[in-house]
C-alpha cells in the first residue's frame, strides 16, 4: 500500500510541546505552571450572553466574516485603543481564535518560495502555518540581553530579496517580552523600505504591564501592510470559545475571508454573541485580571531574585522566561528532572524554538497560593542542584 500521508505533512515537525505534554500527563499529581491560558473563568455576564443566545435559538450560521455588530465593536475597540480605523464591512474578519487568523494570513499572502521572518522564541504555529502555505521560514534568534526584543540590525540581517512577510509576536509567548513604541519605530523604517508585510499577533495586547500597549498599525504607513491579529482568549479569559479576529486592508481581508469561507464558513455563533458583550461591557474585567496578573508577575520576579534564578523582567502576557543554563542541563532535562523530583511541570524553552535552549517558560496564570507551592519546590530543586548530597 502506498503511504497515505502527504510529503508536506510528513515533513512538518510536530510541536515540541507535545512530547512534554505526554510526559506530564502521566503524572496526575504534578503541579503545573505550564498552562498557556488564563486561570480565570470567562466573566459571568459574558457567559450569560452566550447562554442567552442559545436560549433564543441563535444557532444559525453568521455571515462569513462574522456578525456585523461584533465587527463594528471590534472596529471601535481598535480605534479607541490604537487610534486606527478599520471598516467593519471590508477590513475585519472574525476567526476561530487568533490561530486561524495566522493560518489565513500566511495562506493569503505567501507564494511558494516567499520568505517569512519569524523571531523566536515564539508561539508554536507560525512556522508550520508558513510552511503549509508554501513559505520558507527564516528564523531570527532573539537575545535575552535585548530582553528578547527584535532589534533593527537582526531584522536587516534576515532580509533577502525573497522576504515577503515578518511575523511580529508581541507581547510574546513564551518570553513575556514586549515591544515599545521606540522599538517599533526603528523597525518600521526597515519594513517599509524593504516592502515587507507584517503579521502582528497581538493576542496578549491587553496584558501589558508597562505603558499601554502600542500596536505597529498605529505607526505611519503600517496599517497598509499589516495583518493585525487579536482575539478574546487572553483578555477576557475565553480560550475555549475559540474566537479571534484579523483586521487588514480590504484587498488582504477579502482574500482571507474567501479562504475562511471555504474551510470554516463562520466562527461559532454563540461565541460571537458572547464577544459582543465582552467588548461592550468587559473593560472592567480586563483591568481587574490585568492587575491580578501583574501582582503575580511582581511576586514571581521577587521570588526569583531571592532564590538566585536569573530572569530578565518581562512586561507582557503571563509568562516569565528564566535562564537555567548555569545548572548544566538542557531545558528539556531540567524540566524532566524537576517534574520527576519535585512534581512541578514547566515548559522547556526549546518548545518555542531552538534559541529557547537554556530557558524555561513559567506561566503565572495561577493563584498566588499555587505559585507559592510551586516556587517552594523549585527553590528546593535549585538548592539540591547547587549543593548535591
Amino acid at each position: 500500500m502506498t503511504d497515505p500521508i502527504s510529503k508536506r505533512v510528513t515533513e512538518l515537525k510536530p510541536s515540541g510541546i507535545r512530547k512534554f505534554f505526554d510526559i506530564v500527563n502521566e503524572m496526575k499529581d504534578a503541579i503545573s505552571l505550564g498552562v498557556g491560558e488564563p486561570d480565570f473563568d470567562t466573566p459571568w455576564h459574558i457567559r450569560d450572553e452566550g447562554i442567552y443566545s442559545l436560549e433564543k435559538g441563535r444557532t444559525f450560521y453568521t455571515s462569513n466574516s462574522g456578525l456585523k455588530e461584533l465587527r463594528s465593536e471590534i472596529s471601535k475597540y481598535v480605534d479607541s485603543s490604537q487610534g486606527i480605523k478599520y471598516d467593519p464591512d471590508k477590513e475585519v474578519l472574525i476567526t476561530v481564535g487568533g490561530s486561524e487568523a495566522i493560518d489565513l494570513a500566511c495562506r493569503a499572502l505567501l507564494d511558494p518560495g516567499d520568505e517569512v521572518i519569524v523571531p523566536e522564541p515564539s508561539y508554536v504555529s507560525y512556522i508550520p502555518c508558513a510552511v503549509m502555505a508554501g513559505g520558507k521560514p527564516v528564523v531570527i534568534n532573539l537575545k535575552e540581553k535585548n530582553e528578547f526584543r527584535l532589534q533593527p540590525e537582526e531584522l536587516i540581517a534576515a532580509i533577502t530579496p525573497k522576504t515577503k512577510l515578518l511575523v511580529l509576536p508581541y507581547p510574546n509567548n513564551p518570553t513575556g517580552a514586549i515591544l515599545e513604541e521606540e522599538d517599533l519605530r526603528k523597525l518600521t523604517d526597515i519594513i517599509i523600505k524593504n516592502d515587507i508585510y507584517v503579521i502582528s499577533d497581538e493576542i496578549y495586547s491587553e496584558l501589558s504591564y508597562k505603558e499601554r500597549h502600542v500596536s505597529i498599525i498605529s505607526l505611519p504607513g503600517m496599517k497598509e501592510r499589516t495583518v493585525y491579529i487579536n482575539g478574546f482568549s487572553k483578555a477576557y479569559a475565553m480560550t475555549g470559545w475559540r474566537l479571534g479576529y484579523a483586521c487588514a486592508p480590504s484587498n488582504i481581508c477579502s482574500q482571507m475571508t474567501k479562504l475562511h469561507q471555504f474551510c470554516i464558513m463562520c466562527a461559532p455563533t454563540t461565541s460571537q454573541y458572547a464577544a459582543i458583550e465582552a467588548l461592550r461591557h468587559g473593560a472592567g474585567d480586563v483591568a481587574e485580571m490585568r492587575e491580578a496578573y501583574n501582582e503575580r508577575r511582581r511576586f514571581l520576579m521577587h521570588e526569583f531574585r531571592e532564590m538566585g534564578l536569573k530572569c530578565f523582567e518581562p512586561y507582557g502576557a503571563f509568562y516569565v522566561f528564566p535562564c537555567i543554563s548555569e545548572y548544566g542541563m538542557s531545558s528539556e532535562e531540567f524540566c524532566t528532572e524537576l517534574l520527576k523530583k519535585k512534581k512541578v511541570a514547566l515548559v522547556p524553552g526549546t518548545a518555542f524554538g531552538e534559541c529557547g535552549e537554556g530557558f524555561v517558560r513559567i506561566s503565572y496564570a495561577y493563584s498566588i497560593d499555587n505559585l507559592k507551592t510551586a516556587l517552594n519546590r523549585i527553590r528546593e530543586f535549585l538548592e539540591e542542584l547547587k549543593n548535591p548530597k
Binding site: I17, F21, G36, Y123, A345
Partner: protein, 165 residues
Amino acid sequence: MDKNESRIRILKAIEHEARVDISELAVRLGMEQTEILNEMNEMEKEGIICGYLTLVDWDKTDEQTVTALIEVRCTPQRGQGFDVVAERIYKFAEVNSVYLISGGFDLLITIEGRTLKEISRFVTEKLSAQEAVLSCATHFILRRYKDHGTILAKKYEDERQLISP
C-alpha cells in the same frame, strides 16, 4: 502613584485578603512595606479601615446559628429622620447590620441568633416594641451561597490541561 491611588490599591487588596503578609503585599503591589503600613495606620485612624473580619461558614461547624433579614417600616422623626430609631436598633448586640434603604420599607436589618426562638423574641419584644417601628417582615436565611464576594457553595477546581502552548 498618588496617595489616593495607593490607598485604593491597598484597600482593594486587603478587602478580601485581610491576613495577607504585608511584605508579600508590598512585592505584589510594587510598593514599599513601610508605605503600606503607614497608610493602613492612617486609614484605621480615619475610620476608613473599620476592622479586619473573618468570613465564616457557620453551617460547616457544629455551632447552631440562625440569621435573619428584617425589613422594617418606621416613622421618621422630625429633624432627625431615621437616625434615632436606627441607633436604638443597632445598639442591640444581636443586630449585625442596619441599612437605611430606598423602596417599600425603610430599614434593613440583619440579625444573628442561636435559635429561631431567640430571633422571634427579639422581633416581638424589642424591635416591634419600638415606638417608631410600624411593621416588620422577617426573612430567615436558609442557605448562604455567596457572601462578601466569596462563593461558599462550591470550591474552585482547575480543570485546564496541565500543559498547553
